[in-house]
């Protein structure tokens, strides 16, 4: 549409991710490195899955719409599975790297915990995934026109931005839950992450009925947020204490040496 829409959608899609990066990651170079590495792993998984999809499209019948749609669904499922595979691969790599880092560092303890690595890698996946989802759409939003001349609904840009926002946060939560599940060998949690990722991706096939895809996605987002909070060490009690500002007493009571 115009510059206003471009900035609006950019802020919607990347606002939380940028604020998370600014406040929690930007100051620690180690976290930045692991974020970028995570983004790279996601990119490689996308490259592989798009290669497979591209080849299948070339050999398929380009004129058959149902076949193309079927191929698209196949491509999406394959991409999700590859992303989760690469997330697992990143986990294994980080495990190995941690031992090495421990050997190298002069302190006795690890410079970065597995939990933080889970969060950072999830956010890295999220950044890259969000970028690839929405940058194309943002560049088209700069022009003077809006979607609709062929009958598509008008709220394409803003819906895409909200979807991207959800996906970025979801990747972060999935990362936390996934790594926790791998640490504790809880394979059912792993399966749940994969299945929820599949559900969210396949919900986009309901578009252009944006309510049908956005609302369930945000429901799943809130469920995953709660789960990730619990995995990361939070509890309802902490949350209540925090919100009612009784934290000073709490800290004093639970004083720990630094």
């Amino acid at each position: 549409m115009t510059v206003a829409v471009f900035f609006g959608c950019t802020f919607i899609a990347f606002g939380p991710a940028i604020s998370l990066f600014l406040f929690t990651i930007a100051r620690d170079p180690l976290r930045v490195i692991f974020l970028i590495a995570g983004a790279f792993f996601w990119l490689v998984s996308l490259l592989l899955s798009s290669l497979v999809w591209f080849i299948t499209v070339q050999v398929s019948n380009k004129n058959s719409a149902t076949q193309q749609r079927g191929l698209l669904i196949f491509g999406v499922v394959l991409s999700v599975l590859l992303q989760e595979t690469f997330r697992y691969g990143y986990y294994r790599l980080l495990k190995k790297a941690n031992e090495g880092l421990l050997a190298l560092s002069q302190e006795d303890t690890m410079p970065i915990s597995m939990r933080q690595l889970a969060y950072v890698s999830g956010l890295g996946f999220g950044f890259m995934s969000g970028a690839f989802s929405v940058v194309n759409i943002l560049s088209d939003s700069l022009g003077p026109g809006t979607v609709g001349i062929h009958g598509d609904p008008q709220h394409y840009f803003i819906s895409s931005a909200f979807m991207t926002l959800a996906i970025i946060l979801l990747h972060m939560f999935w990362g936390v839950v996934f790594f926790e599940a791998c640490e504790r060998q809880r394979w059912w949690a792993l399966g749940a992450v994969v299945i929820s990722h599949l559900i969210v991706s396949c919900l986009t096939f309901v578009n252009p009925h944006y309510q049908g895809s956005l609302i369930p996605t945000y429901i799943i987002l809130s469920i995953m947020a709660a789960w990730a909070y619990l995995c990361a060490g939070g509890s309802l009690r902490n949350l209540k204490l925090c919100l009612t500002c009784k934290d000073k007493d709490f800290l004093l009571a639970n004083h720990r040496p630094r």
Binding site: G15, Q116, G145, A161, A232, G234, R237, N238
Partner: protein, 709 residues
């Protein structure tokens, strides 16, 4: 073994990469959801001369406006005054494309651009965007020569002209010629922009964006100065405008030595001339049927009528046939030829010119008279000129009587109409006549407009004829032009001093005239044109569908440096005046080595020949037909502000295109921005809160995260 495996894997990767590169990448599918690109746009471009710029211009990133169809006066009021969503992109019905409406649009700030629907329904009785006095400053009549006749004081040649082509518009004006495209635009308008019960339409609204940004501004002097600066100081010079140029076609009955400049012998020539070009408001749209094609067809038919007799009984004087290009733009072709003749850089010079007969607009005769226009000033000043001109008129009268064509003279004090002959008179007072179908003002009601087409020339065929049948069908217009051609041919023969007894053998063949007319106003992609052109030209697509366009334009073009019409005329002349040789293709292209052929006297053409099944294929034709450069002398002399010669240039541009899409309301855009800023601020706040309380929130971890905060 290892090396083999490595090689195989490397080859596989290479194969994959090349396969990926060869498959084409489709454009962004989001863009396809938003925009409908309009193909085949017909823009109006900017032309400049020594003092002014004319035409249309869009801003650099295109002009966008909400569509509104202009069908009635209330629509005009809505666009200019009351409509709530300015600026508007006006879709103008044919009836409203007039000077008053366009000037009102020009003065309004609420018009982003105009797209004119080109059709014959609703077309006014007359429409001529040219000026009322064509080429008034570069003709022969000026303050020094016949001042009372200058500037159309005595006769307004084009009284129906509204001068739209010579106005400068700050918004783009496009023509919608394709009916399907117009339908797409109308449908979008009807779906989104219609006013229900007098209330304004709701967003989202259908809008159109037109791109036609022109690089040149102000006038030719400025543009050429900037181009010279670029050429001199820039590593990557960007040329802003180009002079209009092409080639004239000339031929003579007795071959002339092309390499000799300035005729040394005392040969005397009769020049028979006509113009090759036309124009209209829009770029490269100039069917010019009555304005130009009538003259071309008549002269070509006259050539065809003359040639057999000239081979048998050559007249004492040489006849020089000339087709001048660029006459619509201050006589580019004829001024260049006269300039070369004056400086003795042309094959003949002005001393050799005995007289001149020019063929103007002769198509709308309709059984009426033909008129012989002459210049009163030269007739008054010189008795020899008066004698010669009277002689010419007498000869033509007697020939016309024999042909049953009524010929007459306009009032003696009337000046010459705009014609190439005026440029010759500027250099030397030679006797000459201009043949036309109008006594005073033009009878062509669509002079130099898009509507001067076959229908204006009354060229119509009975229904259910195949293209091949239409090619040879002799319409009334063809028969009428054939009569004029016979008159011209016989007059030229008599003027060249030929014997009266041979006159009756000179007759134009109506079939040739019919073929010429079909090729030049209906369909250029026909079997006759195909047989006359070289095979490589037809392969390059010079014979596309539809009639040829006569706008001079600039070289080079996709099929070569010469304009398609110039090529057609050149090859038709070669066919009519040439002889078949049995040279091979390589010999035809380089006949220097062959003793019997003379490259100085003749030009050699490799033509396709008939496309019939039992034809022999391409062959070589030798003909005394040449091209001479038609670029205004002002550019040769680098006098870009010249008042004597044509200084017309055409601006350059990067892209000309149009697209249709929906626009959303400003409120929705601001709302999106507002929501985005709110989300960003909210997330900043929440994240700050979370990160500052992180120790507390995530404290019930089993492993103690001793981290560096």
């Amino acid at each position: 073994m290892r090396k083999m495996e490595k090689l195989i894997s490397i080859n596989c990767v290479k194969l994959l990469i090349t396969a990926l590169f060869y498959t084409c990448v489709s454009c962004s599918s989001v863009e396809q959801k938003i925009y409908v690109e309009l193909n085949d746009t017909v823009p109006c471009v900017r032309l400049l001369n020594a003092t002014h710029q004319i035409g249309c211009q869009s801003s650099m990133s295109g002009d966008t406006g909400v569509l509104h169809v202009l069908e009635s006066e209330s629509d005009l009021d809505w666009i200019l005054n009351t409509g709530p969503h300015p600026p508007y992109m006006v879709i103008m019905e044919t009836a409203f494309f007039s000077r008053s409406v366009m000037l009102r649009m020009k003065n309004s700030s609420r018009v982003a651009g105009v797209a004119v629907i080109v059709s014959r329904t609703g077309l006014a009785e007359n429409f001529s965007p040219h000026t009322t006095c064509p080429n008034q400053n570069t003709g022969v009549y000026s303050a020094k020569y016949g001042p009372e006749l200058a500037n159309c004081n005595v006769t307004t040649w084009n009284p129906l002209g509204n001068g739209l082509s010579y106005e400068d518009f700050a918004f783009p004006v496009f023509a919608l010629k394709d009916e399907n495209q117009t339908q797409v635009i109308r449908k979008c308008y009807e779906d989104h922009n219609l006013r229900l019960n007098g209330s304004a339409p709701q967003y989202p609204l259908c809008a159109m964006q037109l791109f036609s940004h022109m690089h040149a501004v102000t006038d030719t002097v400025t543009c050429m100065r900037r181009t010279d600066l670029q050429n001199r100081f820039s590593i990557n010079p960007e040329i802003l405008c180009d002079p209009l140029n092409d080639y004239n076609v000339w031929a003579s009955t007795r071959p002339l030595n092309n390499s000799a400049k300035g005729q040394t012998t005392n040969e005397s020539f009769v020049i028979a001339a006509t113009r090759l070009d036309g124009r209209s408001f829009f770029w490269q749209e100039a069917p010019a049927a009555e304005g130009t094609v009538s003259g071309i067809v008549t002269l070509l038919a006259a050539v065809q009528a003359l040639y057999p007799v000239i081979q048998l009984a050559p007249p004492p004087r040489n006849i020089f046939f000339a087709f001048f290009q660029g006459e619509a733009f201050d006589y580019i072709g004829s001024s260049k030829m006269v300039y070369d003749m004056e400086r003795k850089e042309f094959v003949i010079d002005l001393n050799n010119v005995h007289s001149m007969l020019e063929i103007g607009q002769v198509g709308l005769r309709n059984g009426r008279d033909l008129w012989m226009h002459s210049d009163p000033i030269s007739r008054m000043n010189s008795s020899s000129v008066e004698e010669e001109v009277s002689d010419m008129m007498k000869n033509m009268h007697s020939i016309a009587a024999g042909l049953n064509v009524s010929l007459d003279e306009p009032p003696a004090s009337q000046p010459l109409p705009p014609s190439s002959f005026q440029r010759f008179l500027r250099a030397r007072q030679i006797p000459g006549l201009v043949l036309a179908d109008h006594r005073t003002s033009f009878v062509n009601r669509y002079y130099e407009s898009m509507y001067d087409d076959a229908e204006n020339l009354n060229v119509s065929y009975p229904p259910n004829l195949s293209p091949e049948e239409k090619l040879v069908y002799e319409t009334e217009a063809a028969k009428s032009l054939a009569e004029v051609a016979t008159l011209v041919a016989r007059s030229l023969y008599k003027q060249a001093g030929g014997d009266d007894s041979n006159l009756n053998n000179i007759t134009a063949d109506p079939k040739i005239v019919a073929q010429l007319l079909y090729g030049f106003v209906i369909q250029k992609n026909n079997s006759w044109f195909q047989s006359l052109l070289p095979p490589d030209l037809t392969k390059k697509g010079i014979l596309s569908s539809g009639p040829p366009q006569f706008y001079i334009g600039l070289g080079p073009r996709t099929y070569g440096p010469v304009h398609s019409v110039t090529l057609f005329v050149q090859h038709i002349m070669a066919n009519l005046t040439g002889t078949v040789t049995n040279l091979t293709e390589t010999q035809c292209q380089k006949p220097d080595d062959i003793s019997t052929e003379n490259k100085d006297l003749y030009a050699y053409f490799w033509v396709s020949g008939s496309t019939a099944v039992n034809s022999s294929g391409p062959f070589c034709v030798r003909a005394p037909v040449r091209l001479s450069k038609a670029m205004s002398p002002a550019f040769e002399r680098q006098e870009y502000g010249s008042q004597d010669y044509s200084t017309w240039t055409e601006s350059r541009w990067k892209s000309i295109r149009a697209r249709v899409f929906l626009v959303a309301s400003r409120e929705l855009e601001m709302l999106t921005l507002g929501v985005g800023v709110a989300v960003l601020l909210l997330s900043l706040l929440v994240t700050y809160f979370l990160s500052s309380k992180a120790e507390l929130l995530f404290s019930s971890a089993r492993e103690t995260p001793t981290t560096t905060y």
